[in-house]
């Protein structure tokens, strides 16, 4: 990725806003773009929030930086209320920058009589007045079809792979911890010029909610260094089971690149005692101190990548060339 070019780019024409979901990321993006970011949110004693926009937004492009990470329901509602206030302030275009998209895993009817929560959230955002959504590694790219307006999805791999490249690992095999992540794994394999791919199968027990188990694999990792890649770490069951399974199958060193780290439940404990040597994650989620200090977790900032995407959206450059270059 080219370094952010600030030519033909006037910070007077656009405004950055953020909610409370991930202010450090918003500030970091603003710094990359040599501008400032404003938080218009006030929270009342009963938990209701009020949005009041102070900068003049009339005829401006407004980028709202708000990943809908935990507390997910508050982050979503805040985003909707910010969009509403921005619309009423006569912005000419509203671009929602939400590197993490809460509820993106509930993207289909797995059983009867359930909502399609991700589709609901996407349409709430669109109908509130968003003209464009920018995500980072959305759980399934088909979700872009939940709305009619443009939805750009960029990949965290560009920000995550340099840390792996620096380790100069030989005989590297990229492994997807489930069947759904094979495309992502292929992408990493190409970026890292890794030897080959492997896939760990798992059977997810729906009635047990978030439990998952590694069962079998396609490919061979015996005596090889392994890079596990995934989009989200929740309670870390999937990736930890896969890693321990690969160790049993003779893998040498095991690393992981994951776009979004929620580390819910006892995830940190599980990772601590797992066969994983290091997990590289982005700052799409505003991490707790214990995540930042965890010896097996390394955070690579996606602020430069998002800043470049914002610049391209603002000046009308291609986003797809940012993805494939």
């Amino acid at each position: 990725m080219a370094k952010t070019q600030l030519k033909n780019f006037d910070v007077q024409n656009f405004v950055l806003l953020t909610g409370t979901a991930n202010e450090p990321l918003a500030k970091s993006i603003a710094k990359n773009l040599k501008t400032t970011v404003t938080n218009p949110v006030t929270i009342f004693a009963d938990g209701e929030i009020r949005v009041r926009i102070s900068p003049n937004l009339r005829r401006r492009h407004v980028f709202i930086i708000q990943p809908t990470c935990p507390p997910v329901n508050d982050s979503i509602m805040q985003l909707l209320l910010i969009i509403d206030a921005v619309k009423r302030a006569s912005a000419s275009e509203i671009i929602v920058v939400m590197p993490y998209f809460g509820y993106s895993r509930q993207d289909r009817k797995e059983t009867a009589r359930v909502p399609i929560s991700s589709a609901l959230v996407a349409s709430l955002i669109e109908n509130a007045g968003a003209d464009r959504i920018l995500t980072l590694d959305i759980h399934a790219e088909q979700e872009e079809g939940f709305i009619h307006n443009p939805w750009d999805n960029i990949y965290a791999s560009y920000s995550l792979t340099p840390a792996i490249k620096r380790k100069k690992l030989e005989n590297l095999v990229v492994v997807s911890p489930d069947k759904g992540g094979v495309l992502r794994a292929t992408f990493y394999q190409r970026l890292l010029r890794a030897e080959t791919l492997a896939i760990v199968y798992k059977e997810r027990d729906l009635s047990a909610n978030d439990n998952s188990e590694a069962l079998a694999m396609v490919g061979d990792v015996k005596g090889k260094n392994v890079l596990l890649v995934d989009d989200i770490i929740g309670s870390a069951g999937t990736i930890v089971h896969a890693a321990n399974f690969l160790k049993e199958k003779g893998a040498k060193r095991i690393f992981a690149c994951v776009s979004h780290g929620l580390f819910s439940g006892d995830a940190l404990k599980k990772i601590g005692s797992s066969a994983i040597e290091k997990i590289i994650i982005t700052d799409s989620v505003n991490h707790r101190e214990e995540v930042k200090k965890h010896p097996k977790i390394e955070i690579a900032s996606i602020a430069p990548l998002l800043a470049e995407a914002i610049r391209r959206i603002e000046v009308g450059d291609s986003i797809s060339s940012l993805i494939v270059s």
Binding site: F44, D74, R88
Partner: protein
Amino acid sequence: MLIFSGSSNRSLADKIAKDFGKEVSLVEIFTFPDGEKRITLGERVVGETAVLVQSTNSPVDENYMELFLMADALKRSGAEFVKLIMPYMGYQRQDHIFRDGEGVSLEIMARILEEVGVDEVFAFDFHSIKIPEIFKIPTHNLSALSTFAEKIKAEFSGKEPILVSPDMGGIRRIKEISEMLNLPFTTIVKDRDLNTGSICDSKLNGEVSGRQALMVDDMMSTGETMVKAANLLLENGATSVFAFATHAILSGNAAQILQESKIEKVFVTDTVEIPEEKMFAKLEILSIAKIAAKALIS
């Protein structure tokens, strides 16, 4: 007709269902460790009228999201008509632009409810009587005042109390209950600082000397309004002060503030479910379940 309940006020949903001789229909509301909710309806709803009971008090955003997801599940599963009983509607105080640059949070909530497939709304004692106008779907502003009137008749008859509205915004409400009971009323005038939300000045608009003062309001949030009003009434010669409010929001340490105040007794309704830790000795809860049930079939 099937009655479903969100997690904000299950006990009220049970009471409403009981009024129809029914049970609340099954729905699994599972919260993942990261806070996301997963809704699974436990009953077939194709072609049915579904009643959804959910207040959107604190945690307001979580309760709203749960409601949106439940409505989405009902509509996608073929429910023909969704009636929402939202005894307390969160964000109702943000019903207009107070200052330049603000959004209208209530308006966006109304739009979303319509968007997710709610066909009719039943709420109690909206902060402003103009709120139903924000909705395009039929919206009923039910009132708990008749419940309070019954209570006042039962406990204060012959004692010639005076009804008091703790602020000018409640003038319509206090007139209404005053007509129901044929009792006099007065109001307190208060000024609020828009930046901090705190009350900066208040004064009494009439005479309360030698009378029991019964304050009636739509909601009790921090308790600050009621406690300040009670002190003002006592300074002006009221013999004792009682408080009535439909919605027991009780944010922060409101329960403690009210318990330790000079208010004799606090009457609220069950539009908002009060958690165990916010119960206090002076509190009495009256139910609006019958009013809600009656509205559903009228």
